[in-house]
C-alpha cells in the first residue's frame, strides 16, 4: 500500500542556518505518527513545509509526495485548495490562533464555504454539527460566541473543529496540548484519536512530550538537529531505543509511574554541545545515585501561612483566588504545590512575596509576622525569600546585561562594590555559566541558560527559601533535567528550602518531599510524597493522576535505576 504522505530527502534552509537536512518520512493512511524532538530541531519547520507555509526566505528542496502528488511542485492556487481540505493543521497556541473579532461560527463557516461551497444556512448547520462533534456543550448557542468567551481547552476544540471541517486525509497537530492543563490535555488527545478513527485520517503529532507519544502514537520518529535519528513503532522505541539520543530523551523525561526522587537519584542529562566542525552534538550522562539526607524536624518553620485569603477585584465583585490556605515550610524541605491553571497557585506565590496583599490570614517568616509590614521594613527581609519565574524570556529585563541584572540586586541591598563583583562571579559560576556571559544580554542566551540567569539572580542574596513558580515548564526535556539537577545541587550546598509550584505531576513527584494539591483556591489534599502518589484520597487528586498519559512501556534504563 502506498503511504499517504512520503517525504524524501527534504532539505530546508534559512539564510545562515540549515533547519532540516536529508529528512525522510512516510505517513501511512489512518495511523498516528509522532514526530518528537526538542525546540529548534526542525520539527515545526517540517510541518510548515508540508503546508507550504514557510516564509519566503526559506529554501526547500526534496520531494513531498501527498497521495502521489508532489506538493512542492504544485502551483500556489492548487496548494490553497489542498490546505484545510486534504491537509489541515492545528497549532500550539489556542489563545492566538482564533480571530478575536469574528464569532467562532463565522470562522467555521468560512472554511466550509471556501472549500465545500456550502450555502450560508447549510454552513451554519454544519458548523453546529462540528461543534457538537468536538464536544462543545450547547453547540447551537455557542456558535455565536467569540474566542474570549471560551476557555483554552474549548478554543483548541474549536480549532480542531475547523481543521476537520472538510474531513482532511492528514491532520498535522503541532504541540496541540502544550499550552493546556493536564486534564484538558487528556481530553483533547482522546478527541483527536476518536476523530482520527471516525474520519480514517492520519495524524502527524508533533511534540516534545514523550509521555503523549507513549499513549497515543503508533509510530515515532525522533528528530535531532534537523535530522531524523530514529524511526520505530512506539513499543519498540520505548523498549529498545536504538539511537543514543532517543535513549537520552527517554531517560531525561520524567514520568509519573517512576519512583525517582531527588534524595536518592540524580537525573540523567543530555548536554548539548557544538562540535569543532560546527555540528550540534550531545553528551549523555546516566542516572546516578546520590544521597541528600532528609532535614531534621526543626521546631520553627521558615515560612508559615495561616488561613490566607487573597481577593481579586473583578467586575462582578471580589473573587477569592486564594481561599483559606495554611502551610508550613521547614528548613531544607521541598514542598510541591500542584494544581491546574487558574487554581490560585501563582496568586499564592505572589502573596507570600507580598507582591499582592492578602485580605485575611497571616504570613510568618522565621516566626515573625510580615503580613502587614510596610515595604521599607520588608526590604531587609526580602533577601530571605526569593523567586524563580516560569518564563525565562519574560523575567529578565531585555535592556540590561547579565552583569547589570545581577549587580543591581546587590546594589539595592547596599553591598560595597568590591564584594558585589565577587558575589556576581560566584553566582554565575555556581549556575554553570561562563564568566564571559556577564557582558551579554538576555536575548543572546537559550531558554535553559536564561533560566540559569534567573536562578543566579534568586540565589545571589543567599536566601533560605526559594519559590519556584513552574521553573521548568517552558523548557525542553533535556534542559528540564539539567535545571532540576542544578536546583538539587544548590539545595544541598546552601541548605535551601523550596516551594516548588508546577502543573507537571512527574516533576513534582521527583522534586518534592511533601505535596499540596490546590484546586479552586483551596488545598484539597496534602501529604507525604509516597502516600499522595500511591493512595490519593481526594477525588481531584485521582483525576489529576489519571490524566497523565500512560506509557505503553517503561524505558529499560530507568528500570535499572529504580531497582
Amino acid at each position: 500500500m502506498t503511504p499517504l504522505l512520503e517525504i524524501g530527502q527534504l532539505n530546508i534552509s534559512f539564510p545562515g542556518h540549515e533547519a532540516v537536512r536529508a529528512f525522510d518520512l512516510s505517513v501511512r493512511a489512518s495511523e498516528t505518527l509522532a514526530l518528537v524532538g526538542e525546540s529548534g530541531c526542525g520539527k515545526s519547520v517540517t510541518a510548515l513545509s508540508l503546508m507550504r507555509l514557510l516564509p519566503p526566505s526559506a529554501r526547500v528542496d526534496g520531494t513531498l509526495l501527498f497521495e502521489g502528488v508532489d506538493l512542492l511542485a504544485l502551483p500556489l492556487s492548487r496548494m490553497r485548495d489542498l490546505r484545510g481540505r486534504a491537509i489541515s493543521m492545528i497549532f500550539q497556541e489556542p489563545m492566538t490562533s482564533l480571530n478575536p473579532v469574528l464569532s467562532i461560527g463565522h470562522q467555521l463557516e468560512e472554511v466550509l464555504r471556501r472549500h465545500e461551497g456550502l450555502s450560508a444556512r447549510a454552513a451554519r448547520n454544519r458548523a453546529v454539527e462540528l461543534l457538537d462533534l468536538v464536544k462543545i456543550p450547547e453547540p447551537a448557542r455557542r456558535v455565536g460566541d467569540f474566542a474570549h468567551n471560551l476557555s483554552g481547552g474549548q478554543r483548541q476544540r474549536v480549532m480542531i473543529a475547523m481543521a476537520v471541517a472538510c474531513r482532511p486525509r492528514l491532520l498535522i497537530a503541532d504541540e496541540p496540548t502544550t499550552a493546556l492543563d493536564v486534564t484538558i490535555q487528556a481530553q483533547i488527545l482522546e478527541l483527536l484519536d476518536t476523530l482520527r478513527r471516525e474520519f480514517s485520517m492520519s495524524l502527524l503529532l508533533i511534540t516534545h512530550d514523550l509521555g503523549l507519544v507513549g499513549q497515543w502514537a503508533d509510530r515515532v520518529a525522533v528528530m535531532y538537529a534537523g535530522r531524523k535519528v530514529e524511526e520505530a513503532p512506539t513499543q519498540r522505541l520505548f523498549e529498545h531505543p536504538a539511537h543514543p539520543y532517543s535513549r537520552g530523551l527517554l531517560g531525561a523525561s520524567l514520568h509519573i509511574e517512576q519512583d525517582l526522587h531527588y534524595r536518592s537519584t540524580r537525573l540523567p542529562e543530555i548536554r548539548h554541545e557544538t562540535g569543532e566542525d560546527g555540528e550540534a552534538t550531545f553528551r549523555l550522562s546516566e542516572a546516578s545515585p546520590q544521597r541528600i539526607p532528609s532535614p531534621p524536624v526543626s521546631v520553627t518553620p521558615i515560612l508559615s501561612l495561616r488561613d490566607i485569603r487573597t481577593h481579586y477585584p473583578t467586575p462582578r465583585g471580589k473573587l477569592a483566588a486564594v481561599d483559606g490556605v495554611s502551610l508550613d515550610i521547614r528548613h531544607g524541605q521541598t514542598i510541591g504545590l500542584v494544581g491546574e491553571s487558574g487554581c490560585g497557585k501563582s496568586t499564592l506565590s505572589k502573596t507570600i512575596l507580598r507582591l499582592l496583599e492578602p485580605s485575611e490570614g497571616s504570613i510568618l517568616l522565621d516566626g515573625r509576622d510580615i503580613t502587614h509590614l510596610a515595604e521599607t521594613q520588608l526590604r531587609p527581609l526580602r533577601r530571605k525569600v526569593q523567586m524563580i519565574f516560569q518564563d525565562p524570556f519574560a523575567s529578565l529585563n531585555p535592556r540590561h546585561s547579565v552583569e547589570t541584572i545581577l549587580d543591581s540586586v546587590l546594589r539595592v541591598h547596599g553591598l560595597p562594590w568590591a564584594e558585589r563583583r565577587a558575589r556576581v562571579i560566584e553566582a554565575i559560576d555556581r549556575v554553570g555559566l561562563a564568566r564571559q556571559s556577564l557582558a551579554r544580554y538576555p536575548h543572546e542566551f537559550s531558554g535553559g541558560q536564561r533560566q540559569r540567569i534567573g536562578i543566579a539572580r534568586a540565589l545571589i542574596l543567599k536566601p533560605s527559601l526559594v519559590i519556584c513558580d513552574e521553573p521548568v515548564s517552558a523548557l525542553d526535556v533535556s534542559i528540564q533535567a539539567q535545571i532540576l539537577n542544578l536546583l538539587v545541587d544548590l539545595k544541598r550546598d546552601f541548605g535551601l528550602s523550596y516551594l516548588f509550584i508546577s502543573h507537571d505531576l512527574s516533576v513534582v513527584r521527583y522534586i518534592a518531599d511533601e505535596v499540596f494539591v490546590m484546586h479552586d483556591g483551596k488545598f484539597v489534599e496534602h501529604g507525604d510524597r509516597r502516600r499522595i502518589w500511591e493512595s490519593p484520597r481526594h477525588e481531584y487528586t485521582r483525576t489529576l493522576i489519571q490524566a497523565v498519559p500512560a506509557r505503553k512501556a517503561p524505558a529499560p534504563s530507568l528500570d535499572q535505576v529504580a531497582a
Binding site: K350, L353, L355, L378, R379, P380, R382, R383, V385, Q386, M387, F389, Q390, D391, A394, S395, L396, N397, P398, R399, H400, S401, E403, T404, D407, S408, V409, V412, H413, W417, R421, Q436, L438, A439, Y441, P442, H443, G454, R457, L461
Partner: protein
Amino acid sequence: MASSPLLPTLPLPGQTPPQRSPFGRFSPQIRAFLRNPAGVAGASLLLLMLLMACAASLFYPGDPLDMVAQPLLRPGQDAHFPLGTDSLGRDVAAGLVHGSRVSLLIGFSAVSISLVIGTLIGTLAGYFGGRLDDLLVHVTELFQTMPTFLFVIVLVTIGQPSVPLISLSIGIASWPTIARLARAEFRSLRESDFVMAARSLGYSSTRIIFHEILPNALPPIIVTTSVMVATAILNESALSFLGLGDPNRVSWGSMIGAGREMLRTAWYLTAFPGAMIVAAVLSLNLVGDALNDALNPRLRNTP
C-alpha cells in the same frame, strides 16, 4: 535630552569588557550608534547646525535685521552677499545663520519641556494606576481636546512674544502625546515578569521606574521626540509666519513669512530657510532612528 534616563543602564566604570572594535573606549550604545551611517550623517548635520548657531556672531557680527545692501540682490549677484538680500536689503545668509539659533533653541527647549511634563505624568499614571491614573488621564484629555496650534497662539498672545514664552507655549501644548505613549508603555510593562522579579527583590518604585521600565519604554518615546522637535520648529515658523514670533529676533519661520509675498519673483527668500528646516528635521529623524536601534540590545548586534 533623552539620554539622561539612560545613564544608569551604562556598565559600571572599569567593568566594560575588552573590545576589539575601533570605538572600544565607548559604551556599546555609543559604538552601535557610530556604526550606523545614517545616524552618523544625521548627527553630523545636526552638530554642524548647532555649531553654526553658536558661532553665528563670529561669521556675521552685528544684527541680521540691519539693512546692509540694496534690496533684492539675487544669489551670486554680489560676492559679499552670496545668498542675496531681501526686500529691505537684509543679508539672507546672515539671517539663515542667526535664524538657526531661534529655530533650534525653540525646537529643543519646547520638546524638553513637553518631554519632562509628558514622561512624568505618563509614568505616574501608568505605573501607579488607580485613582491617580483616572485623574491624570482626564487632565491629559483636557489638554488634548484643544487644537495644538490654536492653543499655542492663545498662550503666546497672553504675553509679549519672546523666545522663552514661545518655547513654553509649544511645550505645554504638545506634552499629551508623550504622556499617552509613556502611560501605555508603563501600563503593559508594569505587569511583566521582570518587574515582578524586581519588586520581589526589594527594588524601590523609583528604581523600577527609571532603571527597569523606562529603558524599555523609551524606543517609541525617542522616535516621537525626534518628530516633535521637527513639529516644534515648524510651529515656531508658523507663528512667525503669522507675525506672532519675537519681532526682535530672526528665525527661519519669520524669513519664510517675510519672503512669502515675493514667492514668484524672489523664490530664494522662502526656499533657503525652507531648506534649512527640511535639513534640520531630516537630521533629527535620522538621529532618532539610530538612537532607537542603538539603545536596543537586540538590534545593537555587538561584534
